[in-house]
């Protein structure tokens, strides 16, 4: 439901934007199939603000190189609010399953900058 709603909403945004400004159409091509690395890279820019200097022990930990399963599990737990921390709960609150999959894929395949 949520996924469909979001896809519909994105298309509506895209159509409005196309008509209004002829700006690029939002690309959702990877959403239905395998994890979408490019989407993951874009969504991950939000994480970089705090996480890029993280180590295994810091309060904002390193997330590069974690397995897809681990990132997915943790992000879903934040989204469900079963894992504490309002910052992360807020970040996760708007992520669809596909977006979490894209993020998890990106971080599992990327090295710390």
């Amino acid at each position: 439901m949520i996924v469909w709603y979001r896809i519909c909403r994105f298309s509506m945004v895209a159509i409005t934007v196309m008509i209004a400004t002829a700006a690029p159409v939002w690309d959702r091509s990877g959403a239905a199939g395998a994890p979408d690395m490019e989407l993951g890279r874009y969504l991950a820019t939000e994480c970089m603000t705090c996480h890029q200097s993280g180590t295994a022990t810091s309060s904002v930990p390193n997330i590069f190189g974690l397995t897809e399963t681990r990132v997915t599990e943790v992000m879903k737990a934040y989204r469900d609010k079963t894992r504490p921390n309002p910052v992360m709960q807020s970040v996760a609150s708007r992520l669809t399953d596909e977006e979490i999959a894209a993020l998890a894929y990106y971080f599992s395949k990327s090295k710390k900058p």
């Binding site: 700006a23 705090c50 904002v60 309002p86």
Partner: protein, 426 residues
């Protein structure tokens, strides 16, 4: 484009900019090899956008960052410097890694923007053509918004709302205080950079006075606003750590700020007069001059943007990010500027090299330190909606929270600082 002309461009790019009054690069229409992004301002907004476009386009876009300062001192954590939690070096950053990341950094002031020709005119007269321009010049202080205040008065009554020499002056004056002295803070009207910043600063002043053993010193905050960010949390913290030391007055209590006198230190309100041993006057603010001069600001003094992409509503080739823009529900913060920069970088790449575009998403968190290991936070996520950047979710620390949660907040903020400065400056 031939090899010869490409070589010529390289030579030109490396030449002394001051010596050139003609365009640094030929216009793209005449055979420019790469599309050009020019960025004005190397703070959280400009630094981030320049680095991200250079990194993610892997050399396909020519990125030039124009910033007069060789080193940038962050306003964020400057209150912690005032309180002795950080040294000046730890909040000061250079552009070496930005350059290594493939960005050409021009240490000069941008004097104007020729929007018709799509060129930035530097203070020395050189012209830098662009295909897309991102401007992130931050704020200018409206000195005359406080009667009696001026740029010269700021040498006696520092605002320290742009970090650097002003912050060092503020610390010098704080260190010279004797027990029984009064600090008067005049806080700014909305909208201004860092909504909780003045109240974190008051907390840090109090931390220093308490540590020095002051028993009689006072901090009076004269506020033109009836309420402020995280007010209940600050007041709870002040009561807990500094009982009786900080007195906050809203306009009903002081009746209006009538004048400040840098010669005598006297500050008059409608209802009282104060002799300030330290006056920290933070006036109203406006978008950086370059943005206003280029006709990108509206009557509010800040620049309207399209929330889908951070483009100026006045010019589709120009993006305005950070404190200079009208950010809808987002506060003016380094976190916001950094977040807006990532949306702008994604859209710039999609327009210049046809990379994929995604829906804009923004986020922000502001941590404020009240006393050692006692920090509170506020934040949220944002998306385009109702013609502005609209809040999608929000959170804020609660009154009466456990001390270890606030200690954790502080640790988080320290990690955030390390992360964001690496994101901006490499």
């Amino acid at each position: 484009m031939t090899d010869l002309t490409r070589r010529k461009f390289t030579v030109l790019a490396g030449a002394s900019l001051a010596a050139l009054s003609t365009p640094l690069f030929a216009p793209r229409a005449l055979g420019q090899a790469k599309p050009r992004l020019v960025v004005i301002g190397g703070g959280p907004g400009g630094g981030t956008v320049a680095r991200y476009v250079a990194k993610d386009s892997a050399g396909a876009i020519d990125v030039t960052l124009i910033e007069p300062l060789k080193t940038y001192t962050t306003c964020f954590f400057s209150n912690l410097y005032v309180a002795g939690f950080r040294d000046f070096k730890s909040i000061t950053h250079n552009y070496d890694k930005v350059k290594k990341g493939g960005v050409k950094v021009v240490h000069e002031m941008a004097a104007s923007i020729d929007r018709d020709k799509k060129q930035v005119v530097l203070a020395g007269g050189a012209r830098v053509p662009y295909d897309r321009l991102v401007i992130a010049p931050g704020i200018d202080i409206k000195f005359d918004s406080v009667p009696g205040y001026s740029e010269a008065a700021a040498q006696v009554m520092p605002h320290a709302w742009k970090a650097g020499a002003q912050t060092q002056l503020l610390l010098k004056k704080l260190n010279a205080l004797k027990d029984g002295d009064t600090i008067v803070m005049i806080t700014p009207p909305n909208p201004y950079r860092c909504p909780p910043g003045p109240y974190e600063r008051a907390s840090m002043f109090a931390h220093v006075l308490k540590k020095k053993g002051h028993k009689k010193s006072k901090i009076v905050i004269l506020d033109p606003k009836p309420a402020f960010s995280k007010q209940a949390l600050f007041m709870e913290g002040w009561e807990k750590h500094y009982p009786g030391m900080i007195e906050w007055q809203d306009p009903k209590m002081h009746g209006g700020i009538k004048s400040v006198d840098p010669k005598t230190g006297e500050i008059k309100t409608d209802l009282a007069s104060y002799k300030a041993a330290l006056a920290n006057v933070i006036p109203a603010q406006t978008a950086g001059k370059i943005a206003r001069d280029a006709g990108l600001a509206d009557q509010s003094g800040f620049c309207p943007i399209d929330p889908e992409n951070m483009k100026s509503k006045m010019d589709a080739n120009i993006f305005v990010i950070g404190d200079a823009c009208i950010p809808g529900d987002m506060p003016k913060s380094a976190f916001s500027a950094n977040s807006q920069a990532k949306v702008a970088a994604m859209v710039v790449r999609s327009e210049l090299v046809k990379s994929r575009a995604f829906p804009a998403r923004y986020s922000n968190t502001c941590w404020s330190l009240i006393e050692t290991d006692d920090a509170v936070k506020i934040g949220g996520t944002y998306e385009p909606g109702e013609g502005k950047i609209k809040q999608a979710s929000t959170f804020v620390s609660q009154k009466g929270e456990a001390a270890d949660l606030h200690k954790q907040n502080y640790k988080e903020s320290v990690d955030w600082y390390a992360g964001i400065v690496a994101d901006i400056f490499g």
